[in-house]
Structure formats: C-alpha cells, structure tokens
C-alpha cells in the first residue's frame, strides 16, 4: 500500500481527500460480515425445521437456494441499501465509494461482490489481500474491476473553540498592536499546532504535556516580545491558550457572538 489518502481534484479546482481503508481494517470488517452471514444462515436453518415437517425435499431446496442467495447477495444488498456499507463496514466506519468520487452505481456493487470469487482464493482472501497491499489505492481485484475504493470515515466532531478560554481574561489583549503583530507573524501551520495541542491537551501524559506546552510557549514567545506584566505569573499552557485566542478569535467575532446571544 503506497498511500493512505486519495486526493481528488474537482473541475472547480478544489482538492479533497479520502482516507483509504487498509487491508487489516477491511479484513476485520469482512470477519464481522462473515459472522452476520453465518447468523442469517443459522436463522434460515431454524426456520426451515418447520418446513421439513411438510416436505424435507422442499426444505432442502429452499436451504440450498437461501444459502446461495445469502452468501452472494449479503454484500450486494447491504452495500446497495446503505450506500456502500455492510454491517462490518459500518462498525469500522468504512464505506465503498466510486474511485473518482462519483455516485456509486448498482453495477459497481454487483461487480465488486462477484469478483470476491477470485479475491477469496486460495483461502481467507489471500489474493484480495495481496492485491490490496500492492495497489496504490488499496484495491482488491473486485475494486479494480468495479472502479471502487474503500474509504474510512473517522468520526468528525465540530471543533470546540470554547475551550480556548472563551470569556476568560486574556492579558495579551491589553496590547492590541502586539496581538496584531502576533497574528501577522504566525503561519497557519503554527496556529494549527497550537490549537490542536490545546484541544487535545487531556490526551497527553502529565510530563509530556508540561514539556510540550513549555516548548510551544517558548516558540511563540520568540515571535513577539510581550511586556513582562502580560506574561509573568501565567503558566505555559495559559500563555498558549491566550495566543490561540488572539489568533482564532477577534473582537469583531466576539461582537458577533454577543449580538447572537
């Protein structure tokens, strides 16, 4: 597998990326689907016990046809009903999509599922797994034939910018010319690093958190020299929160919020 991202450029010149699912995640999703198929077959078998009293011949025929329909049709039916997802894929937040970002077609779903016959060879999807591993877009042979990819949709939460000391005193704001200079000198990447560090601060181990905020605070202190009365007596983390507040919130924005309230 060469890359975990597929970038698509629209005719309008906008680039968006899709996070490709790796072979291991896909294998786990497939394992869940196999369990679902077995559960459906077990249910069918139990239901047919009643039919056996009427005709064991008919019950045998219905089970054979049911086994065939469930084992082949499960993937097709789920992916068509849930727009590229099966139960296993739902659990692992995977989705089958068109390789060019277009709408997934019924033909594509059928083709990729029929090609499982080859991908599953000789056992446990060995051929499909190897193809997936070697393919630049992590496609098994069925995906290649159907021109589809499997993407991962991690849970996307809206950014909670209220964590950036909303309504709290910010000593840096007493120096609007220096705050403006800070906004001018900080690059988007540096700003994003500060924001992410603050949003994920609870995920760090205590010592790592102290070290990280110490380094980041030192980096931003070097950008603009605020007077000591603005920076003395506050922790590195508080300083960084004030910096992010200056960068990501303006007074105009605060006015908008106040008006909205």
């Amino acid at each position: 597998m060469n890359s975990s991202l597929l970038k698509i450029r629209t005719p309008e010149g906008i680039v968006f990326s899709q996070l490709l699912a790796g072979p291991v995640t896909r294998f786990l999703a497939w394992f869940i689907d196999v369990m679902c198929i077995l559960a459906l077959l077990e249910t069918l078998g139990r239901l047919l016990i009643l039919l056996q009293f009427v005709s064991s011949n008919l019950a045998g025929a219905v089970y054979t046809l049911g086994y065939f329909a469930i084992s082949i049709g499960y993937g097709m039916a789920c992916e068509w009903r849930w727009r590229g997802q099966t139960i296993g894929k739902k659990l692992f937040r995977l989705r089958v999509v068109d390789a060019e970002g277009l709408r997934l077609q019924f033909n594509q779903i059928v083709t990729r599922n029929l090609l499982r016959f080859v991908d599953a060879l000789p056992a446990f999807y060995f051929v499909g797994g190897v193809a997936c591993w070697l393919s630049p877009q992590c496609q098994r042979l069925g995906d290649l034939a159907a021109n589809t990819i499997v993407i991962r949709n991690p849970r996307v939460a809206q950014p909670d910018l209220d964590q950036l000391s909303a309504g709290m005193f910010n000593s840096l704001r007493h120096y609007p010319h220096l705050a403006g200079r800070l906004r001018q000198r900080v690059s988007p990447l540096e700003a994003a690093i500060a924001l992410q560090a603050l949003l994920r601060r609870d995920e760090f181990a205590p010592i790592a958190r102290l070290e990280l905020f110490r380094d980041l605070a030192a980096h931003f202190r070097a950008k603009v020299a605020f007077p000591p009365e603005a920076t003395d007596g506050i922790t590195d983390e508080q300083f960084l929160r004030n910096v992010a507040d200056v960068i990501y919130r303006t007074r105009a924005n605060n006015r908008i919020e106040n008006l909205a309230a």
Binding site: I8, S56, Q158
Partner: protein
C-alpha cells in the same frame, strides 16, 4: 494571515447544514428528482462549501473542520458531476427481452472466442480419449462418468424405481446454484488477464468432448443426445456467455490498442458484465430445473425423440432470442 475560525464557522454553518440536509435527502431517496430552481440552489450551496474548503485549507490548518467540509464536498461532488444514468425502477421484461440480447450481440465476438475455446477443448478431449481410452479417469474425474456407457444405458433403461424420487427439487436447486457459481467464477477469472477464463472454458470443453467421444464409441449416441440436449441446450450456451463476460473483462483489463485509462475501460464494461451474468443466472436456473425433472428420465419413461425434440426447440428459441430479441428497439444509452 490566519482565518478567524469561529467567525467563519458561525457565518458559514447555515450553508453547510442546508447542503448536508439536501444530500441526506438525495441519498435516502435515490429516485427523487429536483426542479431546475432546486438544482441551481444545490449547485450554489456546493460551490460555496467548496470555496469554504479552499479557504480553510489555505488559511487555517484546522483539521476537523476541513475534514467535515471535505466530506460534504465529496458527497456533493458525486451527485453533481455524475453523468451516468441514475438507477431507477426498471421493467424486468424490458431488461430480459431487450437489454440482455442487445448486450450479448454488442459483444458477440467475445462469445465466438468463448465458443472456439470450448470447441478446441472438446476436440482435444475427444481426440485424447480416442487415442488413449485408459485416460478416462483423468479426462472425466467424476465417478458417475467412469462407468461403461453401454452398461449405464442398460441400467438406466431397465430401472424400475425413480432414483431421484423425493429429492428432485433439492437436486434441482443444487444444480442451479452449483452451475451459477461456476459461471460467476468463470467471469471473475477474467481478472487474470483471461488466463483463468480460458482454462475454465477449455477444461469444460475437454470433459464434454471426452464424454461425447466415450458414448459415441460405445454406440450410445441417441442416449447421449437425449440425456444432454434438454438441459445442455441452455446450460452450455450459458457457460459460454459467462466465458464471454470473462473475456470482456480481460479485454478491458489488457486494453490493447485503447487510449483510455484502465478505470474508464473497466467502467465501460461493468454494466454489460452485470447484465450478461444476470442472464446467465436465469438460463442456468431453467437448465437446473430441466436437468432434474426431465434429463434424468430415459426410455421407456420418456422417448428419446421427445427429449431430443424438446432440446432442439429450446436451442432454436435461445438462438432466436439472442439473435433477434430487441433488435428493432434502440439500445439503452
């Protein structure tokens, strides 16, 4: 300059929410259609959200909002730029009597190749058995075919009990599903650049040729034709059509002489492959039914001429269906 993220989100969120609502509705009701005004509004929302994505990518590396917008733009892009026919409710009879035969005829050269490979296999199997009768277990590795043909015919014709009594339906279901699996496998092996499809067709041909030669050598031609023709008249062409589909897939994969990318070539044949394999499934369901309920019964229960006539009528109808059905209608886009 850093974008004022929160102000940006507050200002633009209504656009994103509305686009998301429209996308959810489109995805929940694939058959729904929008009016021109709704389409223009949808396009406006898409363009504005795409522009927001461009802004946030350029000015702020905030990954969560970017990922959210990417997701929205990706979904809307698929709806706006898709030019292929939106799947709707199709009439099964139109599909069967028009789309299927038209698709078959459009790729009939692949069918001829499939037929030629099978005939080559037949010739090889027949010739090999005639040359070396002891090779029978190798050429036909199935216990019920290893018996001496004359002895088998004598046993079948003198049978007083119906050996399929009580499990004809389940036997029929087994034949249907087994043959459909083999056909799908033959199609899927097209992904081996056609090598697997070739081997499947050739090995089928070898067995068919060897069985034919075995019964002809034993002077049991009438029994053979009466036994194979009722179901074989449909089953063998169905396997050949599956081979045709496999070869189409291989041809798209190889792309010899084509100047379009691999993805576009495969996309072009995808719909036709599904149509052909759907037709194969129906043909094999019929063949499985006939094989269980008719082919296994011989004289004196059913006279051979009746069985042969039935098989010939089937073959003629199938030929007419594939050659003429839907010929006057315009093919689908």
């Amino acid at each position: 300059m850093i974008i004022d993220l929160q102000r940006f989100i507050v200002a633009e969120r209504p656009t994103w929410t509305e686009l998301e609502r429209l996308l959810n509705r489109l995805e929940a009701e694939p058959a729904s259609r929008m009016s021109l005004e709704q389409l223009e509004h949808f396009h406006l929302l898409y363009e504005r959200t795409a522009a927001d994505l461009a802004r946030i990518t350029t000015f702020s590396a905030e990954p969560e909002t970017r990922r959210y917008l990417e997701n929205l733009v990706a979904r809307a892009y698929g709806e706006i730029h898709e030019t292929r026919d939106r799947p709707g409710r199709r009439a099964p009879l139109t599909w069967f009597f028009q789309t299927l035969p038209q698709t078959f005829r459009r790729h009939v050269r692949a069918f001829y190749v499939s037929l030629a490979i099978t005939l080559a296999g037949c010739a090889f199997g027949g010739f090999a058995l005639a040359l070396d009768p002891t090779a029978k277990p190798v050429l036909m590795p199935f216990p019920h075919l290893l018996q001496d043909p004359t002895q088998r015919v004598a046993e079948e014709e003198s049978a007083t009990q119906d050996r399929l009594a009580g499990h004809k339906t389940s036997f029929s279901a087994f034949l249907m599903t087994h043959n459909i699996r083999v056909s799908i496998f033959t199609l899927a092996l097209g992904m081996t650049w056609g090598v697997g499809t070739f081997l499947m067709l050739f090995s089928n041909g070898i067995m068919l040729g060897a069985v034919t030669a075995d019964f002809i050598r034993a002077g049991e031609t009438k029994f053979l034709v009466g036994w194979l023709l009722p179901h074989g008249a449909v089953e063998i062409p169905a396997i050949l059509i599956a081979g045709q589909a496999g070869l189409m897939l291989a041809l798209a994969l190889i792309g010899r002489g084509a100047r379009v990318p691999l993805g576009a070539r495969l996309r072009a044949v995808s719909k036709d492959l599904v149509t052909l394999i759907g037709g194969v499934g129906l043909l094999l369901a019929w063949a499985g039914f006939v094989e269980a309920f008719l082919s296994q019964y011989h004289e004196p229960i059913i006279p051979y001429p009746a069985k042969i006539a039935f098989g010939l009528i089937e073959l003629g109808l199938l030929f007419l269906f594939l050659a003429r059905s839907g010929a006057t209608q315009r093919p689908p886009p």
